[in-house]
């Protein structure tokens, strides 16, 4: 049995949730502390497959600034954040770049692309 505490971020109230994971053949999740149903979905998702949109910068040449802001165009698994950063950090692009232009396709086989988040 595993217990994990977390703050719900679905709405500004910020319920303090506790998720209990029971394993008797199949995994079962019990969520407590939530004031509404959405808290349950959030908690189970956070414990089974937490994902985040990653925003950062990459080096850019011949541009107004030295860094180009980038983002993933969808959420990627949280565990892969630092691995992604290390790849992002090794990229250098050249101006001009259009907002939305793909910088790294299918980053770390996540099915998500890293795209420019502004034109420069």
């Amino acid at each position: 049995m595993l217990k994990k505490e977390m703050t719900c971020i679905v709405c500004p109230i910020g319920c303090q949730l506790e998720v209990t994971v029971k394993s008797n053949g199949e995994l079962e999740y019990v969520v407590t502390g939530n004031k509404c149903k959405r808290g349950i979905d959030y908690a189970i998702n956070e414990i089974t497959n937490p994902t985040r949109v990653l925003t950062s910068t990459v080096k850019i040449k011949n541009a107004l600034l030295k860094r180009l802001p980038v983002r993933t165009n969808g959420a990627i698994p949280k565990v892969k954040i630092f691995e992604c950063m290390k790849i992002i950090n090794n990229v250098e692009v050249k101006s001009p770049i259009k907002c939305g232009e793909v910088i790294i396709k299918n980053i770390l086989e996540t099915g998500i692309d890293l795209v420019a988040s502004r034109s420069m």
Binding site: I9, T57, P69
Partner: protein, 421 residues
């Protein structure tokens, strides 16, 4: 001398939205003056996502949000000047500005929209004792260095203040390889969104110390460490609770202040609660024809609200130009009641409203399961149940105009009623 119908001072989200809306409402001669080298204002350094949920129904990053407005501004052929600083505005709307290209300019505007934004409160303003070494940054300055200039500000960081900028910077620093040791917050609650506490601190194992503050800075040349102590209910450090953190950087996210030095020169009256101009329902200041919107009026939590407010300012500046504004009206004052820090607008002329009255406000503490009660001359006109109210989250209230129109009202107040009272 250059003449414009509308001069917008500031090319950040407020100025952009106001200029665009004025153009859409039939004003052709508009100039946006921006002091930075590009349009977009502070959004250009806010590379995280979370902007635009209300306006675009999607989560954009700051630069993406800005770019949509910049593109639209350009498409509408609205004039703008970059790298240009406004030095003075007069009550009769002469604007003087300088840049390297055109030199010293004096321009005349029929209407002026103030959209200068805000600045960060500094170490000096909150008088943190200790040495004065390099390595103490406001969060926004560090954000600019890291996200735009591409330089790190330090390796081991302590952050004071848990407003959203502080939290966002904790994550940015961690992602770029710095060790963020702790975030200290003097209040018993965070000024930031829960989402940011979870995704910026919890995700990276960064502790948040509520009711704690920095009481000493060490290091003669570069920061070598800070001392953090717990504070009592009067926010005074409690002796014996000091903890030393070694670090090379202290980041401050201790509040924003509307930047109104120009407004004062134009004779504009400020509200001591917001730090911004006193405005009416049309976002017009006490100086006729001078409008204001965005963080120069009051510090917003969401850029979407800045856009909304600025569109109102732009639209009304256009109405002013077209002489559609009712001027000699009876005035209703808004009054922040129990638990409310401020209300914008401060002055209402119902003749200039269409269907609803929008009011923005902030509360002074965290309240759960309470009510916002809106009263007209002491009589309740609306009650809104609120499961959660916090100072970090701006509240927006819409009131049906019918509930206040054509009545001889002189004051509208908003107050918090706690559960069971």
């Amino acid at each position: 001398m250059l003449k414009y119908d509308i001069i917008v001072i500031g090319g950040g989200p407020a100025g952009l939205a106001a200029a665009i809306e004025a153009k859409k409402n039939g004003v052709d001669s508009i100039l946006v003056i921006e002091r930075d080298r590009e349009l977009g204002g502070i959004l250009q350094q806010c590379i995280h996502n979370g902007f635009g949920l209300h306006i675009f129904k999607e989560e954009l990053t700051g630069p993406e949000y800005a770019e949509r407005f910049i593109e639209e501004l350009k498409k509408l052929n609205i004039d703008y000047m970059l790298d240009t600083m406004v030095l003075d505005i007069t009550e009769d709307r002469y604007v003087s500005a300088v840049n390297t290209d055109k030199g010293f300019m004096t321009m005349k505007a029929e209407a002026v929209i103030l959209a200068m934004g805000c600045r960060e409160r500094t170490r000096g303003a909150i008088s943190i004792p200790g040495f004065r070494p390099a390595g103490v940054f406001t969060a926004g300055t560090a954000q600019r260095f890291i996200n735009m200039e591409g330089y790190m500000v330090g390796k081991e960081v302590v952050i004071l203040g848990s407003g959203d900028i502080g939290l966002i910077m904790a994550r940015r620093l961690a992602l770029e390889g710095a060790k963020v040791k702790v975030v200290a917050e003097i209040m018993p609650f965070s000024g930031g969104l829960n989402r940011n506490i979870v995704q910026c601190l919890d995700d990276f194992g960064i502790p948040l110390l509520l009711s704690h503050t920095v009481i000493d800075i060490k290091g003669k040349d570069r920061v070598e460490g800070v001392t953090i102590a717990k504070v009592d209910e009067n926010l005074r450090p409690i002796p014996g609770t000091e903890i030393d953190y070694s670090c090379d950087t202290l980041l401050l996210s201790v509040g924003l202040i509307p930047e109104n030095e120009l407004s004062k020169k134009a004779g504009i009256k400020l509200d001591s609660a917001t730090g911004g101009p006193i405005v009416n329902e049309s976002m017009e200041t006490n100086v006729p024809g001078v409008f204001a919107c965005g963080n120069v009026v009051h510090v917003h939590d969401l850029v979407d609200y800045v856009t909304e407010e600025s569109r109102r300012a732009g639209k009304n500046a256009a109405r002013f130009i077209k002489k559609e504004m009712a001027e000699d009206c009876k005035i209703i004052e808004t009054v922040p009641g129990n638990g409310i820090t401020y209300i914008v607008p401060q002055v209402i002329r119902t003749e200039n409203l269409q269907d609803t009255l929008d009011m923005f406000m902030r509360v002074n503490n965290v309240y759960n399961n309470s009510k916002l009660v809106i009263k007209a001359d002491g009589e309740t006109v609306k009650t809104i149940n609120k499961r959660h109210l916090a100072p970090g989250e701006m509240e927006r209230i819409k009131i049906d105009l019918n509930s206040i129109k054509n009545k001889a009202i002189s004051k509208i107040s908003v107050e918090i009623e706690k559960e069971g009272v």
